[in-house]
């Protein structure tokens, strides 16, 4: 069931030694890029139908083309390595195990869009990835793969690592840009989008670790061959972080189109002690919670649009039927209440009240009116918040209101049976 591209050389390859990467034809795609016209590279990526792996699933070539067309010659590439979404640990895995694959992907993107400066924004708590990426950059420079006039091509590209202080919202692209600029991590109003006015006011291409890591593979096998992997709407492979009540939690690489149930049962080994699955949360704290009977859903971007949550399928968090749903929801809500940047009203003020209302359910103290208020608040937060954080903070509540509505009424109507889990 697994199909390994990005993780092909993991484990086994020494991440602290560039030679190990070069030995498996590492950087060959980048050298190939040098012999290709930048616009042709973007054309090949268009053929691959690669979509961003950060959550929004935006076609990568459109962003790159938008950058390439800019008149402004100072342009930046940013790798979003601020993987802060609870339940996700695949970007960390890629950085810790194959750092040069990421560097090569960024170099290809930079060359294709004519950017000369890049940043890797790594989550503050990621001590090991930060250390490994620093070493990878040092070795790439020593090998003449970064810096001025790379490989005598006349192309310059310099790369720096930046870190925040651990704020979740800094994974949102504009909050991340603000953070690199030295400001507090608060998002900006769109439009303009980063490819028009991004870092330091210049055109900026932002993708996450997994997205960039796909580029060497697309160039190596060609866009069309890449597009043949996965499904019509979602091409290539997906790294999935599997966690919660499973026998074998970890990162697995599967082609798009694989059913979630198979990932849990075959790769994750099913639940420990063969407990029944109660709920599964997809993509992380900001993703939908679905019931067991929906697990035949396949991993596919378009399937996830049904949840009005574009956060994709990067994570599968398995919860057995002994878990109190309201305990889970309250924890998620407390997380977003803590992590809201405070810029827009619905997220700043809404998460507080969402937590308070969920606590009423948790304490078996909720009324039907509370349910109505919770639903109305969640909808408004989703529809009106400024950035993805506020828009997706209520996803868990909205999805449980849809798929576990009875659980809410049970708690209202039979408080004595619910109580604290």
């Amino acid at each position: 069931m697994e199909q390994k591209l990005l993780t092909k050389h993991i484990p086994g390859m020494d991440p602290m030694n560039i030679q190990a990467y070069l030995d498996v034809e590492g950087y060959q795609s980048f050298f190939k890029a040098f012999k290709t016209q930048p616009l042709d590279i973007i054309g090949d990526i268009e053929k691959s139908k690669l979509r961003g792996r950060g959550g929004a699933a935006f076609p990568v070539h459109i962003k790159m083309m938008s950058m390439a067309k800019q008149k402004e010659t100072t342009r930046y590439i940013i790798c979003n390595a601020d993987e802060g979404e609870p339940g996700n640990f695949k970007d960390r895995y890629l950085m810790e195990n194959n750092p040069h694959q990421l560097l090569e992907g960024m170099l290809i993107a930079a060359y294709a869009t004519r950017a000369n400066k890049g940043y890797i924004y790594i989550r503050g708590e990621f001590d090991t990835p930060i250390k490994i990426m620093h070493e990878a950059i040092r070795q790439a420079k020593a090998h003449g793969l970064l810096g001025t006039n790379i490989q005598g091509s006349g192309f310059d590209f310099d790369l720096e690592i930046r870190s925040g202080a651990g704020s979740y919202v800094c994974g949102e692209e504009f909050a991340l840009i603000e953070s690199i600029e030295g400001k507090s991590g608060r998002t900006r109003v769109k439009p303009p989008f980063p490819t028009d006015v991004g870092l330091f006011g210049k055109p900026t291409l932002i993708n996450n670790v997994e997205t960039f890591s796909n580029l060497p593979w697309i160039l190596a096998m060609g866009g069309e061959a890449f597009a043949s992997i996965g499904t019509e709407s979602s091409t290539g492979t997906k790294l999935v972080s599997v966690s919660g009540n499973v026998k074998h939690p970890g990162v697995y690489e599967v082609p798009f189109g694989v059913p979630i149930r198979d990932v849990i049962d075959t790769l994750g080994g099913g639940t420990q002690n063969a407990q029944k699955i109660g709920m599964v949360q997809l993509s992380g704290a900001s993703g939908p919670i679905i019931p067991e009977y929906m697990l035949d859903l396949t991993i596919d971007f378009d399937r996830f649009e049904d949840f009005d949550s574009k956060t994709g399928a990067g994570a599968i968090i398995v919860m057995d039927d002994q878990k109190d749903m309201f305990n889970i929801l309250k924890r998620i809500s407390d997380f977003f209440e803590h992590e809201s940047c405070g810029k827009c009203t619905p997220c700043r003020e809404g998460n507080v009240h969402m937590s308070k209302l969920l606590n009423k359910f948790l304490q078996s103290d909720a009324t039907e009116k509370d349910l109505m208020n919770l639903e109305s608040l969640s909808r408004v937060m989703h529809q009106t918040s400024l950035c993805g954080l506020g828009q997706s903070a209520p996803t868990a509540v909205l999805s449980t209101l849809k798929y576990f509505r009875d659980t809410y009424f049970d708690r209202i109507e039979h408080p004595q049976e619910g109580g604290l889990a």
């Binding site: 507090s184 109003v189 405070g342 998460n351 009106t384 918040s385 828009q391």
Partner: protein, 570 residues
């Protein structure tokens, strides 16, 4: 030219317009809070959400550009629900004791709650009380009322270039505060009050002196006199339900008498006097090789800014006091002597478009007598509006009255002090005629009028031609200063006003002072000028009498003691 529909009405929009702009052009009201004309769009409050048919999420009208064929609903049930919920959320973290608030019945949040029909908030109040910041004479900050719209931050940072206020913390702990959560008097705040003017609620206001003044008026032992700043006569009407740009000089004088002031005088008089002193100071600096360019000093926000941020430039500032303080000094000397009143019993109130004037009046340098400040209390235009309402004066229908003598005899040159470029124009009218010893052919210096940030003109004095400049807003002031510091400033004389548009756009002016309203007030003040018989300060007979009787001549010893001051780095 995209064709769109708003609420089923077909509309031709202009390229690049936002939903809010198109709606405004077509008289469709969309409520806003963080949005303020002339400031950058923040899109933070999310109150202006509209529905775009076919989109799952609502769109902020202030920052969503319209596209061909867009079908927009600004009044659907979904839109109402969202606006209502957002307003409730704001109210849940707000001091909702509206009757104990100075903006009761004049508050953008309250109006919104009323329009949306919020009679009961579904969300409990989670406000955590914060201490009130009023350790300064000018501005009061009440964080309990703040709705974090960020207008104050925008105006302080981007218009004034000072950046005293910014967001602190995050999530629902977010506050708008000076650095490190300290108070304004710990900071480089100039007290210009632009933050108070744009605040949609009463989170930032002037520090009110209304009670103090009312008390003095009813104190039989006090002789309470009032002076009215040039800009107030073209703006006071707005606080009393009249159109912006209404000229209400005569009504204001009458209302002040009804309120109970013993004498009603005009700051325009001491504006004329300022021109005499400042003009002669300029001529003496030119003649004797003094520090040039000389920069005006009648704006207290600007003086604070210079002292705090540009202490190396203080010898460029004219030593002449501002018209407000010249008035105070003369009221407690010349006037008290003439009227045989103990200066300690003369109580001087000024009506100012400004919050920094309160700070200026409280300066220790502004005390001719040790026991008493020259100006005892300063009321903003807004405070006066309130006072007039409270006194039951029917302002719109009151008959016009004239100022009292002697400080009520004024020229048009004094009046235009209220607009950016006005002090410079008044000075040029006098300086040219004094030096050239012949009447000016044209009194209007149009190059230095209007809302352009930095304006310049040339003036020929005798055989020399000098360049002069006018800057308003402190960001523009800094540009002019940077040129002086770099040794590339071509100017001999510079006028600086801290507020956009000058005093007519001051921090104490009626709420929601947009640039469009500023222009209307500017037009009005030049109309005041052209309607005057006297239009040059040096032709003001009362000013000349003052020199004959008391001061002898500009820059005399007594003029220096009473009408000039000094500055120090702070």
């Amino acid at each position: 030219m995209p064709t769109i529909t708003i609420n089923n009405q077909k509309i031709e929009a202009k390229e690049g317009q936002t939903i809010l702009e198109v709606a405004k052009d077509h008289h469709i009201d969309i409520p806003t809070l963080c949005h303020f004309p002339d400031l950058d769009v923040q899109s933070d409050c999310r109150i202006c959400m509209s529905e775009i048919v076919g989109q799952k999420k609502l769109a902020p009208s202030c920052s969503t550009p319209v596209k061909e064929g867009m079908e927009i609903k600004t009044n659907s049930q979904r839109v109402y629900n969202a606006r209502k919920t957002i307003t409730e959320l704001l109210l849940s973290n707000h001091d909702t004791n509206c009757t104990a608030c100075e903006r009761n019945m004049n508050c953008e949040l309250q109006t919104l709650a009323d329009t949306l029909g919020i009679d009961e908030n579904r969300f409990e109040n989670i406000l955590e009380h914060e201490p009130i910041d009023d350790n300064n004479p000018s501005i009061t900050r009440n964080a309990d009322r703040c709705i974090k719209c960020g207008r104050c931050i925008e105006v302080c940072k981007n218009v004034q270039g000072i950046h005293v206020l910014d967001y602190m913390n995050r999530s629902h702990d977010t506050k708008v505060a000076p650095a490190h959560g300290k108070f304004l008097n710990d900071q480089v705040c100039t007290y210009c009050g632009q933050c108070a003017n744009v605040c949609p609620v009463a989170s930032i206001t002037e520090k009110s002196d209304l009670e103090k003044v009312t008390h003095a008026i009813h104190d039989e032992t006090k002789h309470v006199i009032v002076q009215t700043a040039p800009a107030t006569r073209v703006s006071l009407g707005e606080t009393l339900g009249m159109d912006s740009g209404s000229i209400v000089t005569g009504q204001m004088v009458a209302a002040l008498r009804r309120v109970g002031f013993d004498k009603v005088f005009d700051t325009d008089f001491t504006a004329d006097l300022t021109i005499m002193e400042e003009g002669h100071e300029l001529l003496s600096r030119v003649k004797e090789g003094g520090k040039l360019p000389m920069i005006t000093s009648c704006c207290p926000g600007w003086v604070n800014y210079a002292e705090q941020k540009n202490p190396d430039m203080l010898d460029h500032l004219s030593t002449a006091k501002s018209p407000q303080q010249m008035f105070g000094a003369l009221a407690k000397t010349y006037y008290a002597e003439k009227e045989h009143i103990d200066p300690n019993n003369v109580y001087v109130v000024s009506i100012m478009p400004c919050t920094a004037k309160k700070f200026e009046a409280a300066r220790e340098e502004m005390q001719v007598h040790k026991e008493t400040a020259d100006v005892d209390a300063v009321l903003t235009t807004r405070e006066l509006g309130k006072m007039i309402k409270r006194a039951g004066v029917n302002f719109k229908n009151i008959g016009e009255e004239s100022y009292d003598a002697p400080f009520g005899i004024t020229s048009g040159a004094g009046a235009i002090f209220g607009a950016t470029g006005g002090v410079m124009e008044a000075a040029l009218r006098t300086v040219s005629e004094v030096v050239n010893e012949k009447p000016l052919e044209k009194l209007d210096f149009e190059d230095i009028r209007g809302m352009e940030g930095i304006k310049e003109a040339s003036v020929t004095l005798g055989e020399n031609t000098f360049k002069v400049a006018v800057a308003h807003t402190l960001s523009n002031a800094q540009k002019v200063l940077d040129d002086i510091k770099a040794g590339v400033s071509p100017y001999a004389f510079i006028e600086v006003m801290a507020c956009p548009g000058g005093c007519i756009g001051g921090g104490g002016q009626p709420y929601t002072t947009t640039n469009a309203k500023r222009q209307e007030r500017i037009d009005a003040i030049y109309n005041v000028d052209t309607a005057m018989k006297l239009r040059k300060s040096h032709e003001n007979p009362a000013v000349n009498t003052l020199y004959e009787e008391y001061l002898s001549e500009p820059l005399s010893k007594r003029a220096h003691d009473l009408l000039h001051t000094h500055y120090k780095p702070r």
